[in-house]
């Protein structure tokens, strides 16, 4: 970190028992550049071509070994181990970042072609070949996730309040916790079948509409909201509850006005994460909300398209020529990523707005 600006210059005192050998600051970049060169050269010698993957892997290996040996000889075992651990951590981080960056870049480069006003303003009604758009799918996604949120957040929040504030150790609370844990593991297709069956029983076999999709998504969202909210309510210090009780504030009001506001930023973040998790669901929506090519903003009747299903539909069942369909699929995927990004951004803003102030 940039603590260098704060450190005053000191002249080295000649006799100090606390000094130890130290690699100069330029070691890391120099060894890094050298390892890259060696790694790529070795890859070229081995395979006869400049392979990116093999080159980077060999370079990383060379870097790890050289740095460790250098550190071991100059700085000693403790520092060498420290460096090795640090390099491994950074390496794993970069490795984890790789698919993320790759996916975003691919979606961006392929999706940007069709990210035009027509894409957002028209549906696929009567469109064959080029043109058309995902207006129906965007509306469908927003409506279905909105309804799913309206169902899940109150249920999830109140369940979490019961678990954290009222139910401690009671058999009912224990069984709820157990079933919530089971629900987190439900395959999403099962949630879709559940909603489809439920609506079939209630409104006649074969009922497919936006509400069905929303119910399916709620089944997936509720356990996530319950779990995250419960954890957050539990870490609110008990002292605050006692302070409130000691002022003669009833329990329900203590929860509403002291406990939940203290944890609200985390609760909002948890809800947003749960939303981001369900907004990309495809399978349950295919079953419960169905397919359509036209705009339908009424969740209580008729099939409703959503972005993930739109992407699947465009990609898996293209017409001839295929390119316009695949372009639309990529643009749909990019739109979905953008919506999730926007959600996260809004979530962060809300969390920051509500976070307890430190005032220092």
């Amino acid at each position: 970190m940039s603590t260098a600006t704060l450190t005053p210059k000191r002249s080295a005192s000649p006799s100090n028992s606390l000094t130890a050998g130290q690699l100069p600051a330029w070691t890391t970049p120099v060894v890094g550049a050298a390892s890259l060169a060696v790694g790529f050269l070795a890859a070229w010698l081995l395979t006869g071509e400049i392979g990116l993957g093999l080159g980077v892997a060999l370079s990383a290996l060379v870097f790890l070994v050289v740095m460790h040996v250098a550190s071991l000889t100059i700085e000693g075992g403790r520092r060498a181990t420290d460096r090795l651990a640090k390099h491994l951590v950074v390496g794993m981080f970069l490795l984890a970042l790789l698919p993320l960056v790759s996916v975003s870049l691919t979606a961006l480069t392929n999706g940007i072609n069709r990210l035009d006003p027509t894409f957002f303003s028209t549906s696929m009604r009567n469109i064959v070949g080029a043109g058309g758009g995902a207006a129906h799918a965007i509306w469908g996604t927003l409506i279905i996730t909105g309804v799913a949120m309206a169902i899940s957040v109150p249920i999830g929040l109140l369940t979490a309040v019961y678990l954290a504030e009222y139910g401690q150790g009671k058999p009912l609370a224990r069984s709820i916790t157990f079933f919530v844990d089971v629900m987190t593991g439900i395959p999403s297709i099962v949630a879709g079948l559940f909603a489809y069956a439920l609506f079939g029983v209630l409104f006649g076999i074969g009922t497919v509409n936006g509400m069905g999709g929303a119910v399916a998504l709620s089944v997936l969202m509720i356990p996530v909201v319950v779990r995250s909210t419960e954890e957050l309510l539990r870490i609110v210090p008990n002292e605050l509850r006692e302070a409130s009780y000691a002022l003669g504030v009833p329990k329900w009001k203590t929860i509403m006005r002291i406990v939940i506001p203290t944890a609200i930023s985390g609760i909002v973040a948890g809800v947003i994460l749960a939303l981001a998790r369900i907004i990309g669901e495809t399978a349950p929506l295919m079953i419960a909300a169905g397919f359509t090519q036209s705009l339908n903003t009424n969740p209580t009747s008729g099939a409703m398209m959503t972005l993930p299903v739109f992407v699947y539909d465009q990609y898996a069942r293209p017409g001839v020529p295929r390119e316009p369909y695949w372009d639309r699929a990529w643009a749909g995927a990019l739109t979905l990523i953008l919506i999730v990004m926007l959600l996260n951004l809004v979530g962060r803003l809300i969390a920051k707005r509500f976070a307890p102030k430190t005032g220092r």
Binding site: E242, S244, A246, L247, G248, V249, I258, P261, G359
Partner: protein, 259 residues
Amino acid sequence: MSKRIEAKNVDIYYSKFKAVEDVNMVIEPRAVTAFIGPSGCGKTTFLRTLNRMHEVIPGAYVDGRIDLDGEDLYGPGVDPVNVRRKVGMVFQRPNPFPTMSIKENVLAGLRLNNKSAGTSEQDEIAEKALRGANLWEEVKNRLDLPGSGLSGGQQQRLCIARAIAMSPEVLLMDEPCSALDPISTLAIEDLIQELKATYTIVIVTHNMQQAARVSDTTAFFNIAGTGQPGKLIEMDSTEKIFSTPTVKATEDYITGRFG
């Protein structure tokens, strides 16, 4: 405004464990009563039964009778919420509400209990409580800043202001100075001297000099051994307890021979 507390044959339990046994005492109004004794002897537990905070812990209950000016706190149909509105409490560690500003913290009791008060009246109550807690001069220019930005001693005085803004009849203090430096401690001790003109004050303390400085009456609790219930050993005027206690254990504890 202040009231007299009378405890008769009080036993206090945590589920099956008897934590305090057979306490009989009278706490006089407009005076400071201090509870002293070794750790785990039940001082705090007993203090918390005086405003029914004890039963917040699952499985905890009280046997016996505690009267507040003749009204049984544990009588049938008594709402603990009503008890706590009359008997305020200050905790060991300062615990201002982190989501609220200094002023909102002081007014928290009023606002959360739906006592309607106009803006000017609220300002008046807040100022009076903060002046009462000796904090007004330090915070009058930053009433809208978060309470958690104050120093530890200031936060504790903020908590006292929050408690007295409810104008309780009794103020319970559970080691209010144990997390504070000597200067903040002095400020709070001075404050206790001022507050005793209006309130009945009960204070738990591990600091015997503090008990000697601030209290009029001192009660000494002791415990025979781990797993045994704590007992009230002796209660008398502070002067008498610290000069000529009648029980040997009290003398041993005060002179530092054990504990």
